[in-house]
């Protein structure tokens, strides 16, 4: 067991439901769905998508392939919001603060530019633009703020945001960092849309995860960042990460193990790395993409590990935010731990009920490449490590 206790002291999030966490929660209460058929990628897909409100960030809607600057702008906006909430940069030395952000497609704008530059000479593709690397996101963001501790981009497909948060938790818990800003974010672009379309996993209607008639994913934009810091410092906690499981399925490049064993293993890891047991878990915010294989495997994994546990996915309302999904859903899980009525509304349709005496909840994220992550979270009231 690692020595330090950690706490989450700030959260900032945006998605197609709203530009801040309060807007998102308000719409989740109303069970509004953020996905729309009238989006900027109509030429490429019939599937509804969850588009963000760029105006609220003072941005024009990005073009179909040019979104890197908007990603930078929005993450910077979130970090300014975190500073307002936590005064993080006033309380720590820059070298004590880290930054770990999940992204699947940062650099795509420059990748298109590099392609156009190198069409006649592909050998210069790698070097045609120094900004086409995913990792440049971190350099760009860290240079705007007093962040000089360990910082990296994590790119593990749809689990990127959850893994970024999990690794930040370990870095703070081990004493490697005193505080870390972590999360994930993706904006949509033509490569993502056309790639998922080629895999035939997009639902041309509003998605219906875990339903017997489910037919695929609704892609979306969004994500979240949070502040994790050592619990020895004075700031009030919003909640805590109390366990983190991260594993490789080693089954197939894009399909989950059909019996759910890989997902089960990851949830078990999160519990084994904590001081909680499966009977302490109040509910699961599942990965629940809406594809037939993912939801079937995840339901089996949950049934194998738990008895009658309530589970749901917020992707039904937010769409699938890819690298941002795990971070956004961790934040929504925290909010649901504190606000009993939020998940009661969501679960009513599923005829599931909640035992609010149980202290912790799991947030699952499973990605291409068999890259799985589960975060075990508790509200500040339920923390008893």
């Amino acid at each position: 067991m690692l020595p330090k206790r950690t706490k989450i002291t700030g959260v900032s999030a945006s998605c197609c439901l709203g530009s801040n966490i309060d807007e998102i929660i308000t719409k989740l209460y109303r069970k509004e769905r953020g996905q729309t058929f009238n989006h900027r990628f109509k030429k490429w897909t019939k599937s509804p998508l969850g588009e963000m409100n760029f105006e609220s960030f003072g941005l024009d809607k990005p073009s179909e392939s040019a979104c890197d600057k908007s990603v930078n702008h929005i993450i910077s906006h979130w970090i300014e919001d975190l500073q307002e909430q936590t005064r993080l940069f006033d309380r720590y030395q820059p070298s004590e603060i880290g930054l770990i952000i999940g992204s699947t497609t940062y650099g795509i704008e420059e990748t298109f530019k590099s392609y156009n530059t190198s069409k006649d000479n592909p050998s210069i593709f790698n070097f045609a633009s120094k900004m086409m690397q995913t990792g440049k996101l971190i350099e760009e963001i860290a240079s705007r703020f007093p962040i000089e501790g360990f910082s990296t981009a994590v790119s593990t497909a749809c689990s990127s945001g959850a893994i970024a948060i999990g690794e930040a938790y370990l870095a703070v818990k081990s004493g490697m960092l005193k505080a870390c800003i972590a999360g994930g974010f993706d904006l949509l672009n033509t490569v993502t849309i056309c790639g998922f379309d080629s895999l035939q996993v997009l639902d041309n209607d509003l998605c219906n995860p875990f339903h017997k008639n489910r037919n695929g994913i609704n892609l979306a934009e969004g994500g979240a960042v949070i502040v994790i810091e050592a619990d020895e410092n004075g700031h009030e906690p919003i909640g805590h990460i109390v366990g983190y499981g991260v594993s490789s399925e080693g089954y197939h490049p894009t399909h989950p193990e059909p019996n759910g064993k890989g997902m089960e293993f990851t949830m078990k890891m999160a519990l084994d790395n904590s001081s909680y047991k499966s009977s302490d878990v109040r509910f699961i915010n599942a990965h629940g993409t809406g594809t037939i294989p993912n939801d079937k495997a995840e339901r089996l994994s949950i049934d194998n590990m738990f008895e009658n546990i309530p589970y749901y996915t917020t992707k039904q309302y937010t769409g699938h935010c890819l690298a941002g999904a795990g971070a956004l859903e961790a934040v929504l899980t925290l909010k649901a731990l504190d606000d009993q009525n939020l998940h009661t509304e969501i679960l009513k349709e599923k005829k599931m009920s909640i035992n609010s005496d149980k202290p912790v909840a799991l947030s699952n994220s499973f990605g291409f490449g068999g890259s799985n992550a589960s975060l075990l979270l508790t509200s500040s009231k339920g923390f008893n490590e």
Binding site: S65, T111, Y115, F127, E139, S143, L170, G195, F196
Partner: protein, 251 residues
Amino acid sequence: MSKNMVAVVYYKKLSVKNINEIDLSFKLARRMGIMQKTCIKLCLELQEKRPDLFELLKSDCNIPIVFTSAFGEIEAIYNTVKDVSNDLFPVSPTAFQHSVDNATAGYIALVLGLHNRSLTMSKGYLSVDNALYFGAKNVEFGLAPFVIIINANEYIWPKGDIIAKAEIIVLGNDKIIGNEPVCNLEKIKQSPDLLDKIKKIDTLSKEVFIESKDPDKALYLDLDNHFENYTRFALSNSSDGFLSKWDFEHN
């Protein structure tokens, strides 16, 4: 809390100019790109040389395997972007699957039957130094007894051939070292404005300063090219940087 010492317990690099140079006997290999096959080959060699590490990996899945790349899966990315730019739909599903940065890490887990904490991270031209820093701190702070780092890139050659360069580095604590450690990693620091700080470092010692303006050279540690102590600086355009000090003499 006392910190663990960090040594490089295994190092190997490989450059492959033709995908057919790598003969992997399993069917899945037919799907793989050149960088993926190169990385798998390096991992299989490590498994052969240090089976004890793979026993430990299987008994403790919290031990991390880190894949890092400055550019990612270049062939797949190039082909997917080319298809989209030229309205060639649908794009290749395999190219799209391979274009995600963790495709290689996924294949490594699949081929070697590992279920470990697997991380794919990137920090542009500083990617290998960043992964090294992450791995060293994981060992130093007791998060893991050892960390496997695989650093790889693909390049498109002038005639359109794809080539790959990769290196595998295993960092471990004193319990993992084995009989033939490569070198000790005496120190690794991350610091912006490193150039200013370099001036304060004692340059009269016998350390060799590795400073390269060739960004591709900076992408690899090339540990088998060094037989004496040296200090490596890796600096990015935004003046972020890493300083690492390596001790080969004690091994």
